[in-house]
Amino acid sequence: MNDPWLPQQAVVMEKVMETPDVATLSLKLADTAAHQRFRFDCGQFNMLYLFGLGEVPISIMDLRQGLVQHTIRAVGRISRKLVALEPGANLGLRGPFGNSWPIEEARGRDLVFITAGLGCAPVIAAIRRVIAARPDYRRLVIMQGVKHREDLLWQEQYERWREVPDCQVLLAASEEKQAPFAWSLGMVTTLIDKARFDVNNCTVMMCGPEPMIRASMHGLEAVGVGLENCFVSLERNMQCAVGLCGHCQMGTPFICREGPIFRVPDIRQWFLLEGY
C-alpha cells in the first residue's frame, strides 16, 4: 500500500519576491525520476511541508523549465516561513491533489476569468495555459479585482494579456480614490457589465473570497450566463489532502477530493449557506 502521508524531499531552486509578502518559489524534487514524472493539471494543489512546522495546501502555478512553481502569500504560521525560504532550502512536498479547471472541455468557447485578491493563483495557471493554446478558444475576458492598484501581482503580465488577440482585460480597484488609467473603481463584480462575451457559449472560471464569488454568481445570472457553465475553485481547511481528515467537507463534497474546482450548481446549495 502506498503511504499517502509520506512527502517527497524538494529543494527551492529559485525565489522571486512578487510583493513584500508574496513569493514565487520554484521547486525541484530531490529524486530525479520523481521530478521528471511530476505533472499537474491547472487547478491542482500540493501539500508543502516545513520541518518542525507542518503542512499547508498551496495551489500549483506552473511547471516552468521543469520546476514546480508556487506563488505563496505570507498569511499564516507556515506560509510566512515558506515565503521566507531562500534558494537551497529543503522542504517536503505531497501531491498533486484535487481536480482541475475544465480547460479541455472549454475549447471553442468564450472564456471568462473572474478573480479577486490573491485567490487568483489557481486561475492564473489556467489563463497561461489557455493563452499558450490561443487558437483553440474564442474570446477571452480576464477580470481581476484588488483593493489597491499596487496589490495587483504581475501587472506587466496583465498588460501583455491586453495585447493578446480578442482578449479583454478588465481591472478594478475597490479602495482607490480615483480610478487608475484603464482601471475601474469598485469591486470585480462591477466589471461584469463591461465584459463582452457570448453568454450562450462561454465557460466562466472564478476564484477569490467567497462573498465575491457569490456576488459574481448574481452578476453572471443577471447578464444571462447559465451557472452550469460557471466553475469555482474553493478553499476549506485541508489537513490531509487525501479525503481522510474530514476538515474540508463542504456539505457533501470533500474539497480536497471532489474539488477544489466545482461546477457552480453542484456546490451551490452548500456554498450559499453560512456555516458549511
Binding site: P4, Q8, F51, G52, L91, N237, G243, C245, G275
Partner: protein, 372 residues
C-alpha cells in the same frame, strides 16, 4: 464443518486459551472507572460478570446483579473505533540529515487481535469506518494494518438500553454481519455460530456440545425482546426533512442553546472520522513527527480558514454534526452515518438526545409546509 454449537459457560476460558496460544491479543469488555470499556484482557476473570448498564441522556451507571453472565451489559463507552482509528497516530517522521530532509513512513507492529463482545451496532460502524478509511482513492495504511489483524467475536444483545435505537437504523440488536463468530449467552452457556472460515476453524477447537433446542428458542425470544426500544429515528434516510431544516437556522437555536460544543458526541460516535494533523518536534531537534489526533466539527479550528472560522456558532456546529451524520452520509457513503448505538445521548454532558432533536426538526419542518 460444524457451524453452530453449544459452549458451556465455564468453557469460555478455553476460548481465551485457544486465542492466546494462536498469538492473539485478546480484547474484551471490562469494568473501568464506572463504565464498560474494551481493554486488552489476560483472562475471563476480567470480564464484567453480572454487570448491567443503565443508560439515559447524560447518564451511564453500572449495576451488579446476581447472575453470572458476562455480556448482559449493552453498550461500551467506546466502540471499536479507538482500536483501528487510534486517538493518536504518528503518520510520518522527518529527519534533518546531511544534504536535506529525510522522510520516513511509520509502520506499526500490530499483533493479531481478537475482540470479544462486539455488538451489531459496533460491526455496522466498523463497516462504515472501513468505507471511509479503506475504500477511497487513498486508503489509510495505519487503519488498514490494524484492520487486517482483527478477529471479531460478536454477541447478540438480549437487552436494549433506554438510549438504544439500532432497530430503527437497521443495525441491531442482532448481529447482521461482519463477525467471525456470534454468541448468544444464557446462564448455562453460549450458542456459538461460526460466520467466517476463521470462525469455523476456531469453533472446531472449542469443547462444544450439541446445541439444546431450548437454548436456541430462549435466545431468539430474548433477541426479539431486545427489539422493543424506547427510541426510534423517523426513517433511515432523513435527507428530505434535514436538508429542509438545514436551510432554516432558527430551527437549530433551541438545541444550540443547550449544546456545550464539547464534542463528546463525536468522540464516542463509532463512525465519526475527523482528525487533525499536529507537528511534534522534540526540543533537541533533528527530527519531527506528524501526529494525527481525533478532532471534531465542534472545535473552532476544525473549520478554520485564514482570517475566519466557517462554523463558529453552536447553531452551525450542531447543524453540521447532525446533518452530516444523518443526511450527508447518504450522499457520501450510501447510507446514514448513525448505527443507533445511542452513545452520543448517554455521554452528552447536558443530555441532548439526537433522536428527540430529529423528531422535533421533522415536526417543525412539516409544520412549515404550506397547508392544502
Amino acid at each position: 464443518m460444524q457451524q453452530s454449537a453449544f459452549l458451556p459457560h465455564q468453557a469460555l476460558a478455553q476460548l481465551f486459551d485457544v486465542l492466546q496460544r494462536d498469538g492473539y491479543t485478546v480484547v474484551g469488555p471490562t469494568a473501568e472507572q464506572g463504565a464498560i470499556l474494551y481493554r486488552q484482557l489476560d483472562s475471563v476473570d476480567q470480564l464484567p460478570v453480572g454487570l448491567v448498564d443503565h443508560q439515559a441522556p447524560g447518564r451511564y451507571r453500572l449495576e451488579q446483579q446476581a447472575h453470572g453472565r458476562y455480556f448482559d451489559w449493552v453498550g461500551t463507552a467506546q466502540g471499536l473505533k479507538p482500536w483501528l482509528f487510534t486517538p493518536e497516530q504518528p503518520l510520518m517522521v522527518a529527519r534533518e540529515v546531511e544534504g536535506g530532509l529525510r522522510f520516513e513512513s511509520v509502520h506499526e507492529n500490530v499483533p493479531p487481535t481478537a475482540v470479544i463482545g462486539v455488538r451489531g451496532c459496533d460491526l455496522a460502524a466498523l463497516a462504515l469506518q472501513d468505507k471511509h478509511f479503506l475504500q477511497g482513492e487513498y486508503p489509510d495504511p495505519h487503519y488498514s494494518t490494524r484492520r487486517e489483524q482483527l478477529l471479531l467475536i460478536a454477541v447478540n444483545c438480549h437487552r436494549s438500553a433506554a438510549t438504544c435505537f439500532c432497530v430503527s437504523t437497521g443495525d441491531g440488536p442482532e448481529v447482521t454481519g461482519g463477525a467471525d463468530m456470534v454468541l448468544d449467552e444464557l446462564d448455562q452457556g453460549f450458542w456459538v455460530r461460526a460466520t467466517s472460515p476463521r470462525g469455523s476453524a476456531l469453533l472446531a477447537r472449542l469443547p462444544t456440545r450439541p446445541l439444546p433446542g431450548w437454548h436456541k428458542r430462549r435466545s431468539k425470544t430474548l433477541r426479539k425482546r431486545a427489539r422493543v426500544q424506547q427510541r426510534a429515528l423517523p426513517s433511515r434516510d432523513l435527507r428530505t426533512p434535514l436538508y429542509q431544516a438545514r436551510d432554516d437556522e432558527t430551527l437549530w437555536q433551541s438545541v444550540a442553546d443547550r449544546c456545550l460544543t464539547c464534542g463528546n458526541c463525536a468522540a464516542v460516535c463509532p463512525t465519526c472520522f475527523c482528525s487533525r494533523v499536529d507537528e511534534e518536534s522534540p526540543l533537541d531537534g533533528g527530527q519531527s513527527t506528524q501526529v494525527r489526533r481525533w478532532d471534531t466539527c465542534f472545535n473552532d479550528e476544525h473549520s478554520y480558514l485564514v482570517g475566519h472560522v466557517v462554523r463558529k456558532s453552536a447553531v452551525h456546529k450542531y447543524r453540521q454534526w447532525l446533518t452530516h451524520k444523518l443526511a450527508i452520509w447518504h450522499d457520501q457513503y450510501d447510507r446514514s452515518g448513525c448505527t443507533g448505538c445511542g452513545r452520543c445521548i448517554t455521554w452528552c454532558p447536558v443530555g441532548i438526545d439526537i433522536v428527540e432533536e430529529v423528531q422535533r426538526l421533522c415536526t417543525e419542518v412539516k409544520a412549515q409546509e404550506p397547508h392544502e
